[in-house]
């Protein structure tokens, strides 16, 4: 009787435990599925952006142009060289309107490639050259089968005439698909086939540099004071509570602060990594302070006692023992804080870093934008190609952030100590 009762109770407990396990595992699977869906949808829609369609043009300079080039390459009318060379490949195209349509197959920046070709190969000046230049974004999408050529003409952005020119180029084997390295070597542009992320990447690096050199020393020193030196009283309690609150303040508030203090009051340059870095540093400070304090608090008191016991001063205990031992934890917190700042857009909106900036910044006071800001702006562009570029940019930002987090994990793994 009792045996039977025990058995029933036991079986009931086993079932409950099994159910509990199933719930938690399915929660995990659900979370992973959502993440996988998100990343794979971004990855899939970014694929077209990583290749680029190029059109080969027969270019031959005449004697005048060669002379001009030898004087100064800037004197050559590269645009007209591009047009003339391209038109000569289609002798049947005669009217002005048709020529204009034909020229629209090429990117507006196509002549830059021709110029680059001659600058790189000055010995080929007199030759007949086939130079591959980027196609326009519509051609790009058509060749990648994103624009459907069977649609009626008025429903697509590329005309029947243009398609027939393209078919001729295809049959002459003048269409080439390459990896779009310009995504990393070009700066932002209104033309999707020319737009790259270099400006945003360099801007992000400069901004993060400013953020790091401001927030790391200040955050660590503040945390050392609060954790090791400050007396425990009401005043330090209030500071502690407020630091924890600051970590939860919406990031745009820091942007407003930056606008009011750094731009309007201190007249710092607008749109500059310097200001962006300071604003993001303010945002990162509480994170670093909290991480540093937690890392130092986890150092066993026996190490402090040992150091005090041989007559180390408080500074020596901190500098020789507590800080080096806490460093892996501090670095982990800092990298995660910086990674969070690197993905931030809202505070930068207020200080003008959410802007279309073509030049790559070379110093922290130059006008610049950052990767997330560029993603936001690309997503707002009407050209269809930007849809794919946006996904590609998100993927690149994600890769950078994942690498930073990976670095944090590796650092922690490498220097982690057991007591």
């Amino acid at each position: 009787m009792t045996d039977n009762f025990t058995e029933i109770r036991l079986r009931k407990r086993y079932r409950a435990e099994k159910r509990f396990k199933i719930y938690s595992v399915s929660a995990l699977i659900l979370a992973l599925l959502i993440l996988a869906t998100l990343i794979s949808s971004i990855a899939i829609s970014s694929i077209p952006a990583f290749t680029q369609i190029n059109i080969g043009i027969d270019v031959k300079m005449n004697d005048d142009q060669i002379l001009q080039f030898e004087e100064d390459p800037e004197n050559v009318s590269w645009r007209s060289l591009q047009k003339k060379s391209f038109y000569s490949m289609f002798p049947n195209v005669e009217t002005r309107k048709d020529k204009k349509e034909l020229n629209k197959l090429l990117s507006t920046g196509a002549y830059i490639e021709i110029k680059k070709f001659y600058l790189d190969n000055p010995n080929k000046l007199p030759d007949n050259n086939i130079i591959y230049v980027p196609a326009s974004d519509d051609v790009d999408l058509l060749i990648k089968d994103i624009i459907d050529r069977d649609l009626p003409q008025d429903m697509r952005t590329i005309s029947d005439n243009q398609i027939s020119y393209l078919d001729k180029l295809i049959s002459n084997n003048r269409i080439k698909k390459t990896i779009s390295w310009r995504l990393f070597s070009n700066s932002d542009s209104r033309e999707p086939e020319l737009a790259g992320l270099k400006g945003g990447i360099v801007g992000t690096l400069l901004t993060m540099f400013v953020t790091l050199i401001i927030s790391f020393p200040i955050g660590v020193l503040a945390a050392i004071y609060l954790e090791e030196i400050a007396p425990k009283n009401k005043f330090t309690d209030i500071i502690e509570v407020n630091i924890n609150n600051l970590a939860a303040v919406p990031s745009i508030v820091y942007g407003l602060l930056g606008l009011a203090v750094f731009l309007n009051y201190m007249n710092m340059p607008r749109s500059a990594p310097l200001v962006g870095g300071i604003v993001l540093a303010l945002m990162t400070l509480p994170v670093i302070i909290i991480a540093t304090r937690a890392a130092m608090a986890s150092i066993p008191p026996s190490i402090r006692e040992a150091a005090y016991g041989v007559g180390a001063s408080q500074m020596q205990v901190i500098v020789h023992h507590v800080f080096p031992l806490a460093l892996p934890g501090i670095l982990t917190g800092t990298i995660i804080g910086i990674a969070r700042a690197a993905g931030e857009t809202a505070p930068l909106l207020m200080i003008g870093m959410m802007a279309f900036i073509v030049d790559v910044p070379s110093k922290i006071t130059d006008k610049a934008t950052v990767l997330p800001a560029q993603i936001y702006m690309w997503a707002n562009n009407p050209e269809r190609s930007f849809e794919y570029l946006t996904s590609a940019a998100i993927l690149i930002l994600l890769v950078i952030l994942i690498m930073m987090n990976l670095l944090a994990i590796l650092l922690r793994k490498k220097y982690e100590r057991r007591w």
Partner: protein
Amino acid sequence: MKDVGSMIPNQYKITTSNVNVDYGNKRALHDINLQIEEKEVTALIGPSGCGKSTFIRCLNRMNDLIEGCKVEGKIMIDEVDINSPDTDIVELRARIGMVFQKPNPFPKSIYDNVAYGPRIHGLAKSNEDLDNIVTKSLKRAGLWNEVEDRLDASGLSLSGGQQQRLCIARAIAVNPDILLMDEPCSALDPIATAVIEELINELKERYTIVIVTHSMQQAARLSEKTAYFHLGKMIEYDITSNIFTNPKHEMTEAYISGRIG
């Protein structure tokens, strides 16, 4: 005892008079008067929570590190009041080595563990000097033969008993004249304990040793004098053999015969 102390005040290495310790509102030690002789082992025994560790931590002002801990009364070491504002706490702790209950080597190499104290106090003028200090300290701590070929290994790679001897070497490397030991063997097995006890017997030729212990046998084996603490009060202080064979106070007798504690 107190009378004897005030009559010949200069005879003792450490003299405490009316030492009271409070943790917040809770009094942990009541009016401790104790005289400790130079180059002797003085054992402090008593049940858990009786204040013996608190007392030993007063002697190198380790209690300063504890939030809300207040020490009153006079503690004279070599006729200097260690609680006076003129006393530099770093210099004081350099003169008074401390060995803790749990071996706590720094997570550094064996060499650096011992060299740390001499380095921060500038005791070595050259690297050779430092090598000599490290070698000498490790030899005195009886650890040299076991580690001489792996001084670069982490201090944490040693066994518990070896770690504790490393901590002793670290403490004596700064050339103290007093060693405070707070239950140095409580985390060790009997064999390692025997090694440490033997070491303490050798060390007392050079150092004044104050040892807190839970083991009455240990106190009996090692010490010249023994103080029995109970609930924050010092009940009895006498020559060790008197304490264990002929205790004057009934509480001491109850403790050593195992009826309390």
